[in-house]
Symmetry: C2
Subunit: 617 residues, 2 copies
């Protein structure tokens, strides 16, 4: 079995967890399985077509001298190809496909042909642009592109055992190492990404020069080499950061790389900065959907508590970056808070980035909309579509980790797993309708003494654990229930998480949410969309005293809708009045039943307004 | 008895009401009496000192050749002197004062000495600046200054019977008429004000050229002669306006002038424009305090429903202008809605413009503040201090109007009035603690057949009227109860307006007020100020289900405070959480009693935060 880890911390001295490989976990049924299947069957093939149609593959042929014409599109368009290769590789990890494997080899051949003798590879900086290589690290994304190439090369190698793309990546990495480093060229990338790629290349090759180069690129920040500003997260050395700022995707990718670096070198000042950034993000700058980046301007984080709904940026790539970062943080500190953010992000502001048909994408994920914002087939700057493809295709790798003393379950989804552990293979069979139901039934199909660590999500108020129908009250360590046992084949664990709809209020410092509530059930954030409701949804005021009912619906590929009560003011009452006694309004409103759907599923039907934060009556 | 009308519509063909003179009404006790007394005893004398100290009188002496040096301050500083003269004149109307009369004559002598042979008078445009006269009507306020001179001249004439200032004003008006008009110079003023002054000068002199000139200046708007923009209300002809826009004071002064013009010429297209502007203002752009102008930028009205609290501009002068405009609208349409706005503005966003000590002023009247915003002794641009002095000094003129069939009572305040009506004098004696109590006891001390029109305020839910202890159910015409009767000396009317504290909510389109409520009792809008409360007031959430208690307090010169219940979250609960289930919060908050005071009285004690719109629990 090839090593199909997402990040291979097997030998990382400061990692408290070990990864479980993508190919060790089969996600068999349910929401995530459906999304993965759509990625494989619809998204990956249609994106391949789009890479051709939009000349992204042409750029490689052109660079190789196999095609004539001008370079097409943005200077970082190579990354769309690399991310697609990565997505396709993950897909192969959990379901082999000869055709896709062959197609990958073709694409890799195109990539390889575009590489210079010296290893340099960026199809924009070819021919007359060759002389501009490495002259504008702040804006031109060469190292960012290299990072995605390296990640694709590693994923493809891990998926297939082949080295055809990994060799290209290594050749480029070696070239970069010949250019940059202490005593060589100063600089770092305006768009972080290469840092985590280089650490992983170190893990893949055990060649320390890549680790050194990753460290170099992180240590170069804050010297004013790439703008010296918040946008580029170049205003301070990384170790001094205490507030998450700047371009959200760059900021969160940088945190991924810094976490990877910490796991290898154990520098506490890096971990302390990461902790500060995590609190800054999750306690003051994160949307309830997990979305990151409040501002259109600079695609950036705003001030503390600046979280507008209608003009939320919350780029799909930023949600992906946060998910990847929180996963890495788990290895440094196996605490439920990180997996909570992964879950919150995945099921809301990340899954919202792709349509249910698998062919349309949100770049921006607002929490309130007049109905004009719709998913698109592609973008000129198409970072999000292949990014969400690679993330969803890699989901099996995020479900579990392991440690010297057992198996950790972070995400709940129906699956069967065969996990190499301590010279043994632990087989787990998990049946659940999660996230629609909080019952998780786990059958252990191996004889072994180990601890099963089950995450108790932060949103849970009541839960119970039965082992072979006997209630257990295990120790809870950092929000993981530790079931230490001499497991015998056929042992059954039932984790029941009480999953009822909850009314959520926001910190009052978030101005746009004052007087508003959101509805959440388990990890799912709900919204009201016009398609389900026969009143103007922006007029709704929720009665938070009335019961919220959860109803499973086959619509929208199957999900739980929530119904509740609210009020709609009589027509025209607000036409002629700016201010009214609350008593008057209470006499002039009609009770209505509203239907809310999971936020990720909005904008998959006819156009209409949508809102997450709804006024409270 | 001199004619001490504020606007003399006695002969205005399209006026449905006649004015009652300032000297016919003595406001004897209560909030307004106290404010008037302070204006006379503190504000007028201290402002005179400031006019000297800040070189505003020097500028006149300089222009007259009696003093040497540079012109001092803003180019419109003359108006501060004129408004002070107007204020002092109104004060004389209701309480003669030999010393003040003498001081006025001295000041008028200074003004007169500064006038050119040809009648021109503006101390900025003298000596080397003479050649710039009338060259920049958009920015340089010459006609605006002239308007205030004319208003001062009329008020002084009406107060004293003297013509020393009126003659100066007429001489300047004649000069202006020689320069501007059809076939003469095109143009109008960037800052409206002269329009209402000229109509009143017509009323004072019956010389139609002033009415013609007022009409000319209004008809010149919208031709692009003064910017052609919203700010100067020059984007459209006045008759085509349908949205209140631009600099709030300019816009509302222009409406005063246009209303005055309508009362004389009866042009329906003007009245229709005024109606549209009134609805635009009161239904979409007015603060609950009556404040006008949402934006610092341009001191201007914002978009519909753009009514931020912390950054509200709501200039004191704009509240005054709205009060003056709504008074004029009453004469065109005797409907309670106009007097409602007068009352709402007077007791809240207008009275807030001056400190209880009568010596400190707000230029800007926010509805939420961190405690940094304090009243100042004076301003470089000091339009507001003498403006509020003249408005408060003229209050007796706003209480009543009359019509061919009776006496109209618009504002309730303790007073005794002797009103010339139909060759008779109607004596009314009004006892009330209004606005702290809704009982108004009126004794008619004359024998006459007339109708007493009593305004039933828009905020009233229940009221009763007793005449000589017998309940009456009179006809209500446009919110005025019409008591038609052969009145006999000693007849007593008791109007009881049920005055209980009310919780007010805002149109949900006002984003900043979503989830917030205001407290109002009768015409008074309340705020919570830190000085009265031992918890951080911005943390308060009001429980709108709990009773609000009204308690009379001798503090702050006597007023009714309101006490109610609310909640303060446990310390730190929002330090680490962006989002919480509402149930969790409800378990982690403490009930508190809060005290609210009338908005106008805030910032008269130690510094501290203040808020009108308070979060609802």
């Amino acid at each position: 079995m090839p090593n199909t880890f997402l990040i291979n911390t097997t030998n990382s001295p400061h990692s408290k967890l070990l990864p479980v490989a993508v190919s060790e976990v089969r996600i068999t049924k349910g929401l995530l399985a459906e999304r993965m299947r759509t990625i494989k069957e619809v998204t990956i093939p249609t994106q391949y077509e789009l890479l051709e149609q939009t000349q992204r593959l042409f750029n490689f042929r052109r660079a190789a001298g196999k095609a004539q014409g001008d370079y097409f599109g943005f200077f970082f368009n190579d990354t769309d190809v690399y991310k697609w290769v990565e997505a396709a590789s993950y897909s192969l990890m959990w379901e082999w496909d000869d055709q896709l494997d062959k197609l990958l080899d073709q694409v890799i051949e195109e990539i390889k042909s575009a590489q210079d003798e010296d290893g340099y590879l960026d199809t924009y900086f070819t021919f007359e642009k060759k002389k501009e290589r490495w002259t504008n690290l702040k804006d031109m994304h060469e190292l960012y592109c290299a990072g995605h190439l390296i990640q694709a090369g590693i994923a493809h190698h891990r998926a297939t055992g082949k080295t055809n793309l990994l060799e290209v990546a290594i050749k480029f990495a070696d070239h970069i190492n010949s250019v940059f480093g202490p005593g060589k060229k100063e600089g770092t990338c305006g768009h972080p990404e290469i840092e985590m790629a280089l650490v992983e290349l170190f893990r893949e090759t055990r060649d320390y020069k890549y680790l050194g180069l990753a460290r170099f690129f992180i240590d170069e920040r804050g010297k004013g080499l790439v703008g010296g500003d918040l946008y580029h997260i170049d205003h301070k050395p990384f170790r001094d950061l205490d507030e998450i700022v700047g371009h959200a995707v760059r900021s969160l990718y940088l945190n991924c790389g810094a976490t990877d670096l910490y796991l290898e070198i154990g520098d506490r000042s890096i971990l302390e900065a990461l902790e500060r950034l995590w609190h800054s993000f999750t306690e003051r700058k994160m949307y309830i959907t997990g979305g990151a980046g409040a501002r259109y301007e600079g695609e950036a984080f705003g001030e503390d508590y600046e979280l507008p709904n209608e003009t939320a940026y919350a780029e799909t790539c930023a949600a992906i970056a946060s998910f990847m970062w929180n996963y890495r943080m788990l290895f440094a500190m196996p605490e439920g808070r990180f997996a909570d953010i992964m879950e919150q992000t995945l099921y809301n502001g990340l899954l919202s980035g792709i349509s249910l048909d698998g062919m349309h994408y949100f770049y921006v994920n607002p929490l309130s909309d007049n109905g004009k914002h719709r998913r698109q087939k592609w973008f000129a700057c198409a970072c999000c579509p292949p990014n969400i493809a690679r993330l969803i295709a890699s989901l099996p790798g995020y479900v579990y980790t392991k440690s010297y003393d057992g198996i950790w379950m972070h995400l709940y989804t129906e699956n069967s797993a065969k996990i190499e552990w301590n010279n043994n293979v632990i087989e787990l069979d998990v049946k659940t309708n999660y996230p629609w139901d909080g019952d998780i039934n786990i059958t252990v199909n191996s004889n072994a003494k180990f601890s099963l660590f089950l995450r108790i999500p932060g949103w849970v108020k009541e839960y119970s654990i039965l082992v072979n129908n006997h209630e257990e009250k295990p120790e809870i360590i950092n929000r993981y229930a530790k079931l230490e046992r001499n497991w015998e084949k056929g042992d059954r664990v039932k984790l029941s998480l009480n999953m009822k709809p909850e009314v959520i209020i926001s910190n009052p410092k978030v101005k746009d949410n004052v007087g508003r509530v959101a509805i959440k059930r388990g990890p799912i954030v709900y919204c009201i969309e016009q398609a389900d409701n026969n009143f103007p949804i922006f007029d709704l005021e929720i009665d938070t005293e009335k019961e919220l009912k959860s109803i499973y619906s086959e619509n929208l590929k199957g999900l739980v809708v929530i119904k509740g009560k609210g009020y709609i003011p009589e027509k025209d009452i607000w036409e002629k009045n700016l201010y009214l006694p609350i008593e008057d309004l209470r006499l002039k409103r009609n009770e209505v039943e509203f239907t809310a759907i999971p936020y990720y599923a909005w904008a998959n039907r006819e156009q209409g307004p949508m809102q997450v934060w709804i006024r409270k009556a």
